[in-house]
């Protein structure tokens, strides 16, 4: 079980993530490259964990957003001597229980689930409003996730399920157009400003199968993302190569003399 051929077939990246990363970083002048996220479901964990057993693991607990910030190259929260470009996270590695629960490692602790925690922080006028809001935060089924791998996109060991892009509003704007306008329409965004990196950028794009934007959240900004001008975007990994192609295509506006005569 889980021999080299199977590994090759199941997890070998289909896309050149190094090239895609270079293209987006160069085109948008991103400060940090995007982060890829790969989720190992509990039902396949025995098989898949073997493929990734050599990957670095944090040496202490950290929040999900800290793990993302670590691998993208900003700060090292992993408690490893050298900042890793890839981290494999298990439920026990999480310092923030809400983030781990959103990602499907376990069920939310009861005082968070029933709204007490946010109500006590005076965020809501009623316990009910707090509970309902918490319930609506995108989350995977409790216990459905065994491991999450976060990595610098250029170092992708596998095709990511989600790609997280961080940038200023103008940089994020540059990606909305190529995403939406290829087929036309609007981008309905799933956002609250709570659980920004975990729920809004990682879980929501997977559950809804589309790009989502996030202004991040108080926790992420307090624990990891210190630049107040940054916001984020999450996109299903399978849609990322097409997004980059569309981004580059849009820069290629033909000169009038190159257009067919009838259009000149």
């Amino acid at each position: 079980m889980a021999g080299p051929l199977l590994k090759e077939q199941l997890i070998k990246p289909r896309y050149d993530w190094q090239r895609l990363t270079n293209q987006i970083v160069e085109k948008l002048e991103l400060k940090y490259e995007p982060v890829g996220v790969y989720i190992i479901p509990t039902e396949n964990s025995e098989r898949y964990e073997k493929f990734f057993e050599e990957l670095p693991k944090p040496a202490g607990r950290l929040t999900y957003c800290q793990a993302v910030d670590t691998v993208r190259g900003s700060t090292n929260y992993s408690k490893l001597k050298e900042r890793p470009d890839i981290l494999l996270l298990k439920g026990k590695d999480f310092l923030c229980s809400a983030g781990a629960a959103n990602l499907g490692f376990y069920d939310l602790p009861e005082p968070i689930k029933n709204g007490e925690r946010d109500f006590l922080l005076r965020r809501f006028p009623s316990l009910e409003a707090s509970r309902v809001t918490r319930e609506m935060i995108p989350h995977f089924d409790p216990g459905s996730t065994a491991d999450v791998i976060v990595f610098k996109l250029s170092k992708a060991p596998v095709d990511p399920h989600v790609v997280l892009v961080f940038g200023n509003p103008a940089q994020i704007l540059s990606l909305e157009g190529p995403y939406v306008m290829k087929t036309g329409g609007r981008l309905q965004v799933d956002v609250l400003g709570t659980c920004g990196v975990c729920a809004e950028m990682t879980v929501s794009p997977l559950l809804n199968r589309k790009m989502n934007l996030s202004t991040l959240c108080g926790g992420a900004r307090s624990h990891a993302f210190k630049d107040p001008t940054e916001m984020g975007l999450g996109i299903p990994g399978s849609e990322f190569p097409d997004l980059i192609e569309n981004l580059l295509e849009r820069q290629n506006i033909p000169k009038r003399q190159d257009l067919p005569k009838a259009l000149q």
Partner: protein, 85 residues
């Protein structure tokens, strides 16, 4: 055939909580927001400064559910969970 694993993994409460006595002003906010009653306010023995009369103590760190409310509410950055603020 192997059964598909779907069992819910229980969250295990507990954390190492440290409070910097020099920074804590005993404002009681951590006591108020903690949904697990991890913190309690105690009188500092012999303290004459009215602004430093009380301090917060983590009396039940084993009950901590890592909601991080205390870190968010502490205006003095006096609380550390697993060494982090």
């Amino acid at each position: 055939m192997e059964a598909i694993k779907t069992s819910v993994v229980e969250f295990m409460p507990g954390a190492t909580i440290t409070i910097d006595d020099d920074k804590c002003i005993g404002c009681r906010k951590c006591v108020e927001v903690c949904p697990q009653d991890v913190y309690e306010l105690v009188r500092r023995p012999g303290e004459t400064d009215p602004n430093k009369e009380f301090k917060s103590v983590a009396i039940a760190p084993e009950k901590c559910i890592l909601c991080l409310s205390c870190l968010e509410i502490c205006a003095k950055d006096a609380i550390y969970i697993d060494g982090q603020q």
